[in-house]
Amino acid sequence: MRTGQIRITDLGIAYRLYREKVTTLKEAVTNRFRHLRSSEQFWALRHISLDIQPGEAIALVGHNGSGKSTLLKTIAGVLQPTEGTVEASGRVSPMIELGAGFDSELTGRDNIFLNGALLGFTRKQMEGRFDRIVAFSELGDFIDMPVKNYSSGMQARLGFAVAQDVEPDLLIIDEVLAVGDERFQKKCTARIGDFRTAGVTFVYVSHSLAAARELCPRAAVLHHGRLQFDGAIDTAWERYRELESGPTPGPSVSAGESEESARRSAGTL
């Protein structure tokens, strides 16, 4: 394994679905712990195999609930595979949600150190990065205000500013760039471009073809937890639209059009 490489082999992630959610001991005892043995398994992902080389950029495409976020979380190490293996070597910067580790009562300054510690950095290491992070976030004097007084855009800025400064080998982004104003979005996109040039492996989830195409030449299409396509992004997007239009795609009607016409007809009704 080279640094920055991700190797996913026959990955399966199962969530347990309880018909009746057992949350109390009494229920568990009266059912003789049956729920532990016979719960329905829902495979959020199954038989996924992907090999992502260092420095490669790949977009994950799929409908809501197709397993994109589950896959990201598994790569980030938040979820453990139910079957198969996920190997990701190098430092993972999980931007699954920006500012996930923020405590709203603490100031931006305190949160930078807290977030750094969550990512495994010592205080000293974060002190060296502090000025750079503040500069990138453009928060100025707001850095000494509690995060709860920040706008959501400001929180995202601070979150991105911390996450971009941890020298990742793997960058995992779950559509976080939708927040923040246009200028900051551009700054983030540029920063990600820098990472790409530097050979950082990049996994990106997006519902926007334009945004994904700008960063990723490759895309993987997930559909109900299965990998349906892996290859060039334009072909992937066609495949994605085809899948979205139904289990048996109608003759030559692309999903985009049918959705639009459906919306139009719904509006007139």
Binding site: A100, E105, D194
Partner: protein, 294 residues
Amino acid sequence: MQPASTVSSPAAAVKPTEGRGADAERPAPRHGSLAELFHFHQLIQMLVVRELKVRYKRSILGLLWTMLNPLMLMIVYTVVFTTIMPSTQKNFAIFLLAGLLPWIYFSTALMQGITSVLTNQDLIRKVRVPQAVFPLSVVMSNLVNFSLSLVPLFILMAVVGQPFTPALLFLPVGTLVLTVFASGVTLLLASFTVFFRDVRHLTEIALQVLFYLSPVLYSFDQVKAHNAWWFRAFEIGLTVNPLSWMVPLIRDPVYYGHVPGALVLGVASAIALASLTVGYRTFVKLEPRHIHHF
């Protein structure tokens, strides 16, 4: 899209070889190992500071409350047990507090720590972090509170004329054993609480029962002095209650002015180590499944 150069600051430009010295090349410690936990000790430290900062935010006296709280409690107890219902035990207030403070430390840490994995679930869902840091940071912030509450205890000792002996130097050791014990129990039950929310309520009740089954309000010798069979049964209950072995770690040096005996120290240390081993191992084993039960 605008050219990247107009918005990317030159200082932030990525150079893959730059700054990749000691800190970037650390191999990640194996998950569940103590090395991993040590790797994150600064995170625990920060979580403790966060906890204290948030708790005393916008309060004028701030951290002083940590000392004022037990001081008020002590004043009330002292007044009650010297004037309203005087006890035969000399300096009963000191006797009581030397047992009550470690008890409060243990029970508060446990009750707060037990839900700490659940309350941090948003974070656990998004960032890969050894979840043990959450219960442990709760224990540590209560350790800070406990240590601070010793200050008013010493003040009170001086006021009522309780002698200060060299045995007080044993307190850090006693506190360490108590902390190890509390950490183990908290880790174990914090993990169980994720699967069964009842554990919290059960623990609350168990703590109430255990309080009276621990030599806090009375001494072990007082129980031994009686001959009736139910007192023998009571004595057995007292002996098997691990907390009975923890209380003397603090009370002996503070009130009796001597270091706990070898038996007490040996049993207490063994219980504490067993508690931490079982608690931490179970926690780490169940940890990957937590996320499915939030």
